[in-house]
């Protein structure tokens, strides 16, 4: 198993690595600026993020050296571990701003909802790979994947972390649509979902979550409180104009007007300081990464690889899209980092592991039948 295969080196996905490094450099540069004026103690966040990147590259190396197909046998163990971590964080986790999202590992606070996303991708890919008959799934056959999604979904919703919970739904929907569905299944499912929205609004959303969505609809209504984030973020992005205010010269970011500017709103800092041109470059990188990922899915010779690659790409894509749409005022504010760009070890590790798996699939595209 550990026999070194020359083809692995030859087939290594240098392109994906290059995009990863590019986005990483931009992200670290941006974090340097975003954390510059902050009165934070200890290691600056860009340094911590750099360490996570280095660890992440180590993880990628480890991942690519093992055939991704092992995941088929590991997936239920992974799923159980992820759910246990979620449960543990709920029961014993560190509470930040009334949410239970963190587990203290001494050197590192783990946010178990991040690996849970990736675990769900792996779990669903395995399940669909095993059960796909090629005739499309019936509602009955979807019961298991729905339950597999519902458990971590509810655990995360309980933290509460609406953004991440919704992410699990996005993954489920994307991957389920990707494998074949029966038309009637699709119709029933979408009907149920639509009717569930008002019920969910009334019974499942916390008041602050409802308020966030209401504020999103009318941000100018209450500019100093809840609409503040959206307003300030739009101002930051908009005031960047064509070429930006220059590195470290963004006033919205440097003068503290932007909240959460090294995590969820990191892109606002970037857009303010680098303008339309800089933003397009960053967006282009993500776009290219998505297309490349889809290409990896297509070129995979086995169906598990296709499903897994597609799941990982949709995970990265939806996070990026929701985050960017949110900071540009197109979607309500939910906790959602920009993968690879926002500060946060759990998110960065998860994304890099996902990219590692993508590379793994890419490298073994000719080896599936061997």
């Amino acid at each position: 198993m550990l026999r070194f295969d020359r083809r692995l080196v030859l087939n290594f996905d240098w392109v994906l690595l290059l995009i990863l490094v590019l986005i990483g450099i931009m992200g670290l540069t941006n974090l340097y600026s975003a954390s510059h004026s902050g009165r934070m103690l200890g290691t600056p966040v860009y340094m911590k993020q750099l360490y996570f990147f280095i660890i992440g590259f180590g993880l990628i190396l480890a991942i690519v050296s093992v055939d991704y197909k092992v995941l088929l046998s590991w997936n239920y163990s992974l799923y159980v571990i992820a759910c246990l971590l979620l449960l543990f964080s709920l029961l014993f986790g560190k509470s930040v701003a009334n949410t239970q999202r963190w587990i203290n590992f001494g050197f590192f606070y783990l946010q178990p909802s991040e690996p849970a996303k990736l675990t769900l991708v792996i779990t669903l890919a395995s399940y669909y790979y095993r059960k796909d008959t090629g005739k499309g799934f019936s509602l009955k056959e979807l019961t298991v994947p729905m339950l597999l999604t519902a458990l971590p979904f509810l655990l995360i919703l309980k933290q509460p972390d609406l953004g991440t919970a919704l992410m699990l739904l996005f993954i489920f929907v994307s991957m389920t649509l990707f494998v074949k569905l029966r038309w009637q299944t699709l119709a029933i499912l979408s009907g149920t979902c639509l009717s569930a929205i008002p019920i969910g609004w009334k019974f499942f959303l916390k008041p602050y979550q409802r308020q966030r969505i209401e504020t999103f609809m009318n941000p100018e209504g209450d500019p100093l409180n809840t609409g503040y984030h959206i307003m300030q973020s739009k101002i930051a992005v908009g005031s960047g104009l064509k070429f930006g205010k220059g590195f470290m010269h963004g006033t919205q970011g440097q003068l503290d007007f932007l909240p959460e500017r090294h995590t969820d709103f990191a892109f606002s800092v970037w857009a303010e300081e680098w303008g339309f041109v800089g933003s397009l470059i960053l967006l282009g990188c993500y776009f290219f990464m998505i297309l490349w990922g889809l290409n990896i899915a297509v070129s995979s010779r086995d169906k598990f690889g296709v499903l897994l690659a597609f799941g990982i790409v949709s995970l990265i894509f939806w996070q990026a899209f929701i985050n960017l749409a949110m900071v540009m005022g197109l979607l309500p504010v939910v906790g959602m980092p920009l993968p690879l760009f926002s500060y946060g070890g759990s998110s960065l590790m998860t994304t890099m592991i996902g990219i590692g798996i993508l590379m793994n699939i890419r490298m073994r595209r000719y080896m599936a039948s061997s």
Binding site: K69, Y129, S239, I290, F317
Partner: protein
């Protein structure tokens, strides 16, 4: 490993193609969503970019007004009466105070102010935005300031604001004349809509400060600061310096004003000194003074009520708002009318037995034993009432009124001050209109000696005196000499304004002037208390009856209740040969004019001529 590999489902071509088609759809979906992001980015950064750039500037830049120091107020020699000093206010910013209770508890200890007072003040600003500062306490003392500055970090939410405020170098000197400042109200905001006033600004509320507000105010400056989200100053972007107000040079002489106010220290009344040849006022004092310092930062209710209820009425400017019967000083009017109208000559003798019978009533002379035979000169010198009763009877009230008017009585002097009273010079027509009754001849007798309906302000009497001895010229009294802008350029010089001329010839006026000189300088003159060694002074005493009560007729002044005592007048001029200065003193309930008011006038004259001698000696070493 091989177990996995063999278990891997190998796709046939058809299945692979289906998946590829789905990937194509997924690609299209991704392109669609990314296109949305790019369009949004373009909309924010390019299409509406300038709007957001402006909003970001508004966030970043905070403009701060810099209050201009008001113009100085100087005396006629250019000595500063009032200037500015920094005033330190405690300002509260709710946004910066996470634990207001703790901070306010500390603050109340520092300020020796009950915490409820501070809370009340804060509550009154409840509808202000949280970031907007407002004043908690104004004009704190130096020790409090140092303490707060040293404990800044323990007092989040507390800031110190520095504003220029009035510095009264001479205390309450000329308080009524100068007036005071106060916080601008809505009405004043409307009135000065074109000026750069904001709520909370100081504005002249009275006196010179109010009338010359336009000049004294200056022009606000502006400071542009870069602030962070907490409003903390990061750096200064640019500054437009404030333009100080124009300096106002008064015609007032600090020394004479001080002398007047000191001489009147324990009395209620008015003193006016006028340059006879220009109508400019050298001193203008009303006592008791207002306490100007108490008005800084808004006068307290207690202090205000105290002034309002003070029986000596410190809030009234008695020089122009106090209306008193002119008493015997009015005999100048009667004498001038009598001479001009030919009712008397300098030689005409009238016998005074101590009373004058008219109708079925006896009108008493102040000297009950009578003056015997008196001519005009002696009648003025000894203030014989009987002589002037007869003159009044001959002339009639309307003729007297004509002469009184020509000497400026019965109408406002036109001094540039607010709320000046016009006094009252009665006529037959006036009485008919006012009371719907016809004039009684007996009333003319009272008017002729300055009693009855007659009312004058001290300023009117002073101007009358000046007009009597300056060739009959009635000047409009002035208190401002010139206005100078902050660069030292004189932008306005006030020239004397002639308002009219006294009726009567120069000869008649000379006769009166000579007689008035005798009042001070000859035996039996009523004004001898004001005699000076070197300089010849002329003047006229007056004792204005407040109330006619028979039970007090023979009582000594000390035995009469204060409010019923007569007002004491003395109006004078010097040097009598060629008068330069006229001084009028009125002491409310002061008793006899000569003895009560005379010495006050004398002190002012002494000071005036002492200064003049000193200047002359300096010029001729």
């Amino acid at each position: 490993m091989s177990r996995f590999l063999t278990s891997i489902h190998k796709m046939d071509e058809a299945e692979l193609n289906t998946l590829k088609r789905r990937i194509d759809i997924a690609t299209a979906v991704a392109i669609f969503f990314i296109a949305i992001l790019i369009v949004r980015l373009w909309y924010l950064q390019i299409h509406r970019g300038d709007d957001y750039a402006q909003l970001s500037e508004n966030n970043r830049v905070r403009a701060q007004d810099l209050n201009a120091p008001r113009g100085n107020i100087l005396d006629r020699q250019g000595r500063i009466i009032i200037t500015n000093r920094p005033c330190f206010n405690i300002v509260w910013v709710r946004e910066d105070a996470p634990n207001p209770d703790v901070v306010l508890k500390k603050l109340s200890r520092i300020l020796h102010e009950d915490i409820s007072v501070l809370l009340k003040r804060i509550r009154s600003y409840a509808d202000h935005p949280r970031y907007m500062p407002f004043r908690l306490q104004e004009d704190i003392d130096w020790r409090t300031l140092v303490y707060i500055e040293n404990h800044r970090l323990d007092l989040p939410g507390v800031r110190i604001e520095v504003l220029p405020t009035r510095d009264y170098l001479h205390g309450d000197l000329a308080s009524h004349l100068i007036g005071y400042l106060g916080e601008i109200n809505e009405k004043e905001m409307k009135k000065h809509a074109d000026g750069d006033y904001d709520l909370g600004d100081q504005i002249g509320k009275m006196g010179i400060e109010k009338i010359y507000e336009k000049y004294l105010h200056g022009e606000k400056g502006r400071k542009y600061l870069e602030v962070d989200v907490h409003g903390l100053e990061q750096k200064q972007i640019k500054v437009r310096k404030p333009l100080p107000g124009d300096d106002l040079q008064l015609t007032i002489d600090i020394d004479l004003q001080e002398t007047a106010e000191k001489a009147m220290a324990d009395k209620a009344g008015a003193v006016i000194a006028m340059d006879v040849k220009t109508g400019k006022l050298l001193a203008m004092a009303s006592t008791p003074a207002m306490h100007l310092e108490e008005f800084i930062g808004g006068i307290s209710t207690v202090a205000w009520k105290g002034m309002l209820n003070n029986p000596l009425h410190p809030l009234i400017d008695k020089t122009i708002q106090g209306q008193y019967p002119p008493g015997s000083t009015y005999k100048i009017v009667t004498a001038l009318a009598a001479l001009s109208e030919g009712a008397t000559t300098p030689e005409t003798i009238v016998y005074c037995p101590g009373y004058y019978s008219f109708g079925n009533r006896k009108y008493g002379c102040w000297k009950k034993t009578g003056h015997g035979p008196v001519n005009l000169r002696r009648a003025l010198k000894e203030s014989c009432d009987v002589y002037f009763y007869q003159m009044g009877q001959k002339l009639g009230v309307d003729t007297l009124a004509r002469y009184a008017h020509s000497l400026g009585l019965g109408s406002k002097t036109g001094l540039e001050m607010e709320n000046e009273k016009s006094g009252l010079t009665p006529t037959e027509a006036w009485k008919r209109k006012r009371y719907n009754e016809s004039w009684q001849d007996g009333e003319t007798l009272s008017v002729a000696i300055g009693q009855g309906f007659n009312l004058t302000t001290p300023l009117q009497v002073c101007r009358m005196t000046a007009a009597t001895v300056n060739g009959g010229i009635l000047f409009q009294p002035q208190i401002v000499e010139s206005i100078t802008d902050p660069d030292g350029k004189k932008i306005k010089q006030f020239e004397p304004i002639i308002e009219g001329h006294a009726l009567g010839t120069q000869e008649d006026l000379d006769i009166i002037r000579e007689a008035l000189t005798a009042v001070v300088n000859e035996p039996h003159g009523t004004g001898q208390a004001s005699r000076l060694k070197e300089i010849s002074v002329g003047g006229k005493t007056g004792t204005a009856q407040v109330i006619h009560l028979s039970k007090y007729r023979d009582a000594k002044p000390e035995e009469i209740p204060y409010k019923y005592r007569d007002h004491a007048w003395f109006t004078c001029f010097a040097p009598s040969e060629n008068p330069e200065i006229a001084v009028t003193v009125l002491i409310e309930h002061g008793g006899h004019g000569g003895s009560a008011a005379g010495p006050v006038a004398k002190q002012i004259l002494q000071r005036y001529f002492a200064k003049k001698t000193a200047v002359a000696q300096k010029l001729q070493p």
